[in-house]
């Protein structure tokens, strides 16, 4: 028998077994509890415990599964109930009481508790489905498709829903075919820079040498980014399958997951996935009888941000300090232990099985010509629906912020969106209708980055945001090259001075000069992109910088040294002492008319009085520059 038919036959048996296991789940009620990190942070493990206790107490027969993240992190803990005769319904913001009611009333009785329902997972006559909401219409999940619907610790769930079919299919063809398919798909690296994945693989495949490696880069470190973590926690097999296909295409026999140690749950689930894949014969020697052998290990990074950079990642795996090296040589020709090495981001690898299974042409149907496929964004900051969203490339920022994210909380005005983390930039309101893909973002001075998206509102000072991100890169700079470790330090010093009202004329120009030189002259990607938040905020919000420098005024009333708290005498309700009691430093006293006054000398600007003042009075305001207080005669 030919090896390709052995592969097909072996895999068909595996698939049959998995499907039987998956279908048996449907025989009785099934409860899914999202226990990825976002769910756990909201108390999902408690909910899980209560559901199990309640089932036991009421003698009800139902299966309970731990699943990953569906992307609706804002509504965690999230519970989904499958009950024969009902559509699958997801419940958000589940409390202990709601959990108990779901068991008693829905499973015990026939009341689906629709008052707590978030949405149904399928279109039906009873409850609106996720796809009926604006978000559901914009989202087009490919790699997040199964996240939150399967138990990440059960390989049979993944296989039953079509998993590992791409690997089995690839193994029946030549590696060159796989490579060509990825090249034709136009897949670009989702780690941030958007380098064509097929070209990287080809370089590695053509590089001389017997020994080659593939590495999954899961050293996600951008502030506010959690896409890779969610995928590894929710569907680790998808990434593992992608890694195995990459290994087959480039000719590697050993692969690694480089996961930061701060992601213990991801590490645990990936390790478990590797073990299960080995047991199922999908990893190890002679996979599915194809003659191809490949195995994977997990390497835990120690949390240095710069280790997400390929050469620093390799150095850290080799036992050296995690410092970047000059490129070329690129890892694809001389990487781990000097051998040709492909390093791909988690999301990049997660796309691979889908492309191999459904074809390059199918992949190109989504997204834009230059950036095919979808993009996964982690929405964070001042947005109502924080969480993960997978949308086609070319979706506008407006759709993401307002339709997917449901807009800005508390009626505040949108100001900017920070895309791409510390390497990215801040885009203003005028960019809201820009279709986002790799190229449009870099033209606008931001960067796709790995998909972190922090939404900022009118209360956010753009100089402070630039300072925050530069402070991050400055602290995470490895210190090796002059441009980065001293250049960012100089820039940070200037930004700190500006936010303290000590900016000087010419500081903006000096920032721009330094930013350009640090970009052009740094050794690695960290330094080359570190000035982006500064450059983009100057480009779009120069007036805010100027207000800080020329008027000692923070327009967003955020920079502590440039604001003062003030109690409006005409609004102060004299008999109320809420602010006086809230002040930790006894800076507020009543004057002869019992109107409250803040002693500016004592005030530490903690904002306690602002929060304490009852909303019907709103007597406490912030003023900038602080000298305005004196003008008002306080």
């Amino acid at each position: 028998m030919k090896s390709s038919s052995i592969v097909a036959e072996t895999f068909a048996k595996l698939q049959q077994k998995s499907r039987t296991a998956w279908q048996s789940l449907r025989d009785r009620p099934l409860i899914l509890v999202g226990t990825a990190t976002c769910g756990r942070a909201a108390g999902a493990l408690e909910i899980l415990k209560i559901i199990k206790e309640e089932l036991e107490k009421h003698g009800l027969d139902a299966q309970v599964l731990e699943v990953g993240c569906m992307g609706h992190c804002y509504a965690e803990p999230l519970v989904t109930v499958y009950k024969p005769g009902f559509p699958p319904i997801s419940y958000g913001y589940v409390t202990e009481g709601i959990a108990a009611r779901l068991v008693q009333d829905f499973l015990g009785g026939d009341d689906p508790c629709l008052e707590f329902a978030l949405a149904a997972l399928e279109t039906n006559d009873m409850v609106p489905a996720l796809t009926d909401f604006p978000r559901g219409m914009i989202e087009k999940p490919i790699i997040l498709d199964r996240c939150g619907l399967i138990d990440p610790a059960k390989i049979e769930h993944y296989i039953a829903l079509g998993g590992y079919a791409a690997l089995a299919g690839a193994l029946t063809r030549e590696p060159e075919w796989v490579l060509e398919e990825i090249k034709a798909s136009g897949l670009r690296g989702r780690g941030g820079a958007g380098f064509p994945t097929g070209r990287k693989w080809e370089t590695c495949r053509l590089a001389p040498g017997e020994k080659k490696y593939v590495i999954c880069n899961a050293d996600e470190g951008d502030p506010g980014a959690f896409m890779d973590r969610a995928i590894l926690e929710s569907n680790p097999h998808e990434v593992l399958e992608g890694l195995a296909i990459a290994a087959y295409a480039v000719g590697a026999r050993q692969g690694y997951f480089y996961i930061r140690a701060e992601y213990p749950l991801a590490v645990e689930r990936v390790k478990k996935a590797i073990e299960q894949a080995r047991q199922a014969g999908l990893l190890g020697i002679n996979i599915l009888g194809s003659g191809f052998s490949f195995d994977v290990d997990v390497f835990q990074g120690s949390g240095a941000f710069v280790c997400g950079e390929e050469t620093a990642l390799i150095a850290s795996m080799e036992g050296e300090p995690g410092l970047p090296r000059h490129r070329p040589p690129f890892p694809a020709t001389a990487g781990l232990w000097g051998k040709p090495t492909v390093i791909n981001n988690v999301k990049t690898l997660a796309y691979v099985p889908h492309i191999i299974e459904r074809g390059a042409q199918w992949f190109r149907e989504t997204g834009t010509a230059g950036s095919p496929g979808t993009a996964v964004f982690a929405l964070a900051g001042k947005v109502i629906n924080t969480g993960l969203a997978e949308v086609p490339m070319g979706t506008t920022l407006r759709e993401l912020v307002y339709d997917v994210g449901s807009g800005i909380p508390r009626g505040k005005a949108f100001k900017a969106v920070q895309i791409g983390g510390p390497s990215g930039g801040c885009l203003p309101e005028t960019a809201l209708d820009m279709p986002i893909d790799f190229d449009s973002l870099s033209q606008a001075g931001a960067m796709m980055g790995s998909g972190g998206m922090v939404i900022l509102d009118e209360d956010d000072c753009m100089v402070e945001i630039a300072r925050f991100f530069l402070d991050f890169t400055q602290k995470e700079s490895c210190g090796k090259c002059t441009m980065c470790h001293l250049g960012t330090k100089q820039m940070l010093e200037i930004l700190e001075a500006i936010t303290k009202g000590q900016g000087k004329p010419g500081d903006i120009e000096l920032l721009l000069e330094l930013a350009e030189d640090v970009k052009a002259g740094s050794l690695c990607g960290l330094g080359k992109t570190a000035p982006n938040p500064v450059l983009s905020t100057i480009r779009y919000f120069r007036d805010e910088y100027e207000a800080h420098i020329k008027e000692r005024r923070c327009p967003a009333l955020m920079c502590r040294e440039l604001i003062a708290y003030y109690i409006l005498p005409e609004k102060c309700e004299r008999s109320c002492d809420a602010c006086v009691g809230s002040c930790p430093v006894e800076a507020i006293y009543p004057n002869e008319d019992r109107i409250k006054v803040i002693d500016q000398q004592k005030c530490v600007k903690c904002a306690s009085c602002l929060e304490a003042c009852p909303p019907q009075y709103k007597a406490v305001i912030k003023l900038s520059p602080p000298e305005l207080v004196a003008e008002r005669g306080a």
């Binding site: 000059h326 001293l486 330090k489 330094l514």
Partner: protein
């Protein structure tokens, strides 16, 4: 060994194929500023960011220490873009350097002074802020004096200490806190340093100096 012919600043020079451009230039008497370059090292540190040059056909300046020479390469060591980058890197180093030339043992033999002379850079910090760190001088060794406030983090001492000394020197810390330290961060005098003094001979500035003279 095959040799290649290339042009640097209009001069035709010969160099061994595959050799890094920086050495080809220096061996032919063409000066390119550099601090961290070590002859014969397989992976150049490329850390000091001073040896930028323009190569015809390249979109932007590149570091000469990392660029292997090829036949027919046309190089210029000066251009407005190169001068700007080198000046910024130099000024950044100065902003973090304890400028005390008059009483420095390396006065007149200091590489920073040489770069300033060759490129006509002022030896003071004008545009940038001075980044003072108040680091303590380590005077504990009988033969070597270590002034971290003058260190430019070139790494030559670390390399030579491993090649010829006892290997007690290494890098410690990250980012702005990065510095040269001994194993276990103990004073040099208690570090197992054998006093060979090689580090003082490779230090381009006055950070590691001998005490005998």
């Amino acid at each position: 060994m095959k040799t290649v012919t290339l042009t640097i600043d209009g001069r035709t020079v010969q160099a061994r194929e595959g050799e890094k451009l920086l050495w080809a230039a220096l061996e032919n008497g063409i000066y390119i500023p550099n601090l961290c370059a070590i002859p014969g090292v397989k992976h150049p540190a490329a850390a000091c960011r001073l040896c930028f040059v323009e190569i015809r056909g390249y979109p932007r300046p590149v570091t000469a220490c990392t660029e292997p020479v090829v036949e027919g390469m046309v190089v210029s060591t000066r251009s407005p873009r190169v001068d700007r980058l080198v000046h910024t890197a130099f000024e950044l180093l100065l902003s973090n350097h304890h400028l005390d030339c008059a009483s420095c043992p390396r006065n007149r033999s200091c590489e920073l002074q040489r770069i300033a002379r060759e490129r006509r850079f002022p030896l003071r910090v004008k545009r940038l802020r001075k980044l003072e760190r108040n680091l303590q001088v380590d005077d504990s060794s009988p033969v070597v004096r270590y002034d971290p406030g003058k260190c430019v983090l070139c790494g030559r001492c670390v390399w030579v200490c491993r090649e010829k000394g006892t290997g007690v020197l290494g890098f410690a810390g990250r980012g702005f806190e990065r510095r040269i330290a001994t194993f276990g961060d103990v004073p040099l005098g208690q570090s197992g340093c054998n006093g060979c003094g090689e580090c003082t001979r490779v230090c381009p500035v006055g950070a590691l100096t001998g005490k005998e003279a």
